[in-house]
Every structure is written in C-alpha cells, then in structure tokens.
Subunit: 206 residues, 2 copies
C-alpha cells in the first residue's frame, strides 16, 4: 500500500468501483467479478484487476470478489470509511442544491459549515446548519479543523475564497466556479463545470 | 482538421483554453501566449502549443496569440459558435439550479426543454420555458431535434431516461445521476458526480 506509487488516474477510478459496489450491496448482491464491474462501468476487466492489485489481493479465483468486503476495503483506501466535515462556500442556487443534496451521506462527507456574504442568506438554516457570514470563514474552518471545501461562488470571487480556505488549512477543494484556481503545492483542486463537458461533447456532434 | 485523428483528451482541454480566452477577452486583453495560458490553467505551454497545432497555426512568433481570433477559432472547432438546444430532464433541487444557471448563455448552449414527472412541477415556468410532462419527452425532443441532454433525475431512474433520450435522437448526455449509463455506440456520456471528486481527493488527505 505504498500510496505515493499509485498513479493518480488509478485513484480516480476507485470511487467509481466503490459506487458500483455500493449499489450491488444495497441490492443484496454478495459476489461480483472484475468482468461484471467492467461491464457496468465501461472499463476493461483487466484494468480493474490491475487497479485493485496496487492495494492487495481482494478476489478469489472462481468466486470473484465479495461485494461488501471489497466495498469496505475501497472505502478504507479512499479514507471515506469515516465522515469528513466539508465547508460549502456560496449559498446561491447551486450552493443551495449542494446543501440539500442527500448524496453525500454515507459516502464519507457531510456539509458541516455553509458560508455566504449576503445578509439575506446568513442565518438561514439547512439540515440543522445555519448559513454563516463569510467573514467568519477562517475562524470556523480552523476551529472545526475542516480540510475539504466546496466553492460555489461566482467566478470573480472564487480565487479570493480559495486563498482564504487554503490559509485556514483546507487541503482539498471542489470548485464549481468556472475558473482555474491557483493553489500552493499540497492542496488539491478538482473542478465541476458543466460547460466544459458540454463543449467537449459538442465537438463530436454532426 | 482531421477530426478523427485528434485524441479525445486534447478535445477535452479545448474548452479550458476557450474559457480562459473568454475571460481575457472580457477583460479587454488583446494578446496572450501559450506561456500565459499555461500559467493560468496549470498546463505546460508546450502541451498547449501541441494541442493547438492539431487544428492549425494560430500564433505568431513574437506576438503570440490574438485573444479574440483564437477564441473564435476554438469556438468553431468545438462547434459552439452556434447555440445548441439542450433538454434538461429532472426539475428537483439540482435540475432547478441547472435551469437557473446563467453560465450556458454565450457558451454555445441554452436549455430549450425541461421535463419532470411530478404534477406539481409540470407547468412551472423558468426563463420563459414551461416544465413539460416527461411523458412528452420523445415527442418534444424529436420535434425540436434536440441532440444534447442533461440528466438530473435520481440514480434509479437515470438509465430509463437515457434510453428514452437516445431513442429520440440525443447524441450527447451530461449525466448528474450517480450511476454509469449504458448507451449505444455513437452516443457520448459525460458525468458529474461530486462524490467521486471528493473521494478522489480524500485519498490524499492525512
């Protein structure tokens, strides 16, 4: 389990395996195979076996993988066998949809703190959490030792928010603002921009 | 411009270049360089020059790239120099945030039709479009010749929606449901699942 030697692209596929295994588990399925996982995910079965082999020997010749066992192992490898507190910055349409999204529960994350700079939004309550004044961002993130944040503010404000988050100790940022962020080494950023995906696919349209 | 010979991963970077150039253009900047683009995007300048060289010669030694010219060329290459009608399926929290999102305008897309199966939502109006009964999905998509769709329904319903979309002629699907879709060859799917990104980054947290 020499973490540093596993290619990042392999790590990026593990959440997909975990997602598929979780659905199998919820459906009561006990065993699966790299072939079945591959069919569901559109990934070659050899690739799946090779990806998993970075972390150990999880399957048995003949019976394949035990769904719950492999699911638990992957959750542990991805460090989502715990519950990470996440800060959400921005409580506009998108931020509200993210705050209401039920899909984080049991996936390793929960929205622990929400920030906005709009007085009309500060104090609103979502799932028992009050929207906080963004002026308190550093203080609250430090105090609650939050390491993960979601940025859902307009593009022009995103870099300043990222700078504050990093300064307060955040190490992983999921950025919905349509702008590439500059962060110091040791901080990870991933991006969600629907326009990028749509334009990518538009290229192939007739 | 032999479209089929350009690696898909190169196509995937063009929207990022276009996004950066659009911001430069809006800021009134006239020229840029692969070096500056690379700095902004965290991509090597040699990579950028190589990516662009698949499509022609856009820069000049010494002066670099003319921002508006390169922006227009990339928009043309990506086929987003026009305005694609997009169908949005699902008008829950997420679908509503997508429908209200202002970021599609001038990026090549507009939400042309919205569908849901909830009688309380059907008939609601967003930006002058009424939410339609999902029973009319095939009819409307065929009639309006919509080729691009966004799926924002729960995971359990997503495959059935995708099947209907494909059958009605949709060729590109942006899927927000946390499930891998099966589609026939010739149809593209891209995925947005925040949990996948968060889990990917969680791996690297201490």
């Amino acid at each position: 389990m020499a973490a540093s030697t596993v290619p990042d692209i392999v790590i990026g596929r593990l959440p997909l395996y975990l997602r598929a295994l979780t659905m199998m588990s919820e459906a009561g399925q006990e065993y699966t195979s790299s072939h079945e996982l591959g069919q569901q995910l559109g990934i070659g079965s050899a690739q799946i076996r090779k990806d998993l082999s970075h972390f150990g020997e999880f399957g048995k010749q003949g019976t394949g993988y035990e769904v719950n066992f492999l699911k638990e192992q992957l959750a542990k490898i991805l460090k989502v066998d715990r519950d990470w507190p996440v800060a959400l910055v921005g409580f506009g349409d998108l931020g509200q949809a993210i705050a209401h999204y039920g899909g984080f529960a049991a996936k390793g994350f929960h929205i622990q703190a929400i920030f906005d700079n709009d007085p009309a939004k500060i104090g609103q309550e979502v799932n028992g959490k009050q929207v906080q004044d963004i002026a308190r961002l550093s203080e609250i993130i430090r105090q609650q030792q939050i390491k993960i944040a979601i940025i859902a503010v307009p593009a022009f404000a995103a870099q300043a928010v990222a700078d504050q988050l990093v300064e307060a100790g955040v190490k992983a940022i999921l950025n919905y603002a349509p702008i590439t962020l500059k962060v110091p080494e040791g901080v990870r950023v991933q991006y969600i921009d629907p326009v990028v995906h749509l334009q990518w696919m538009a290229y192939y349209l007739e």
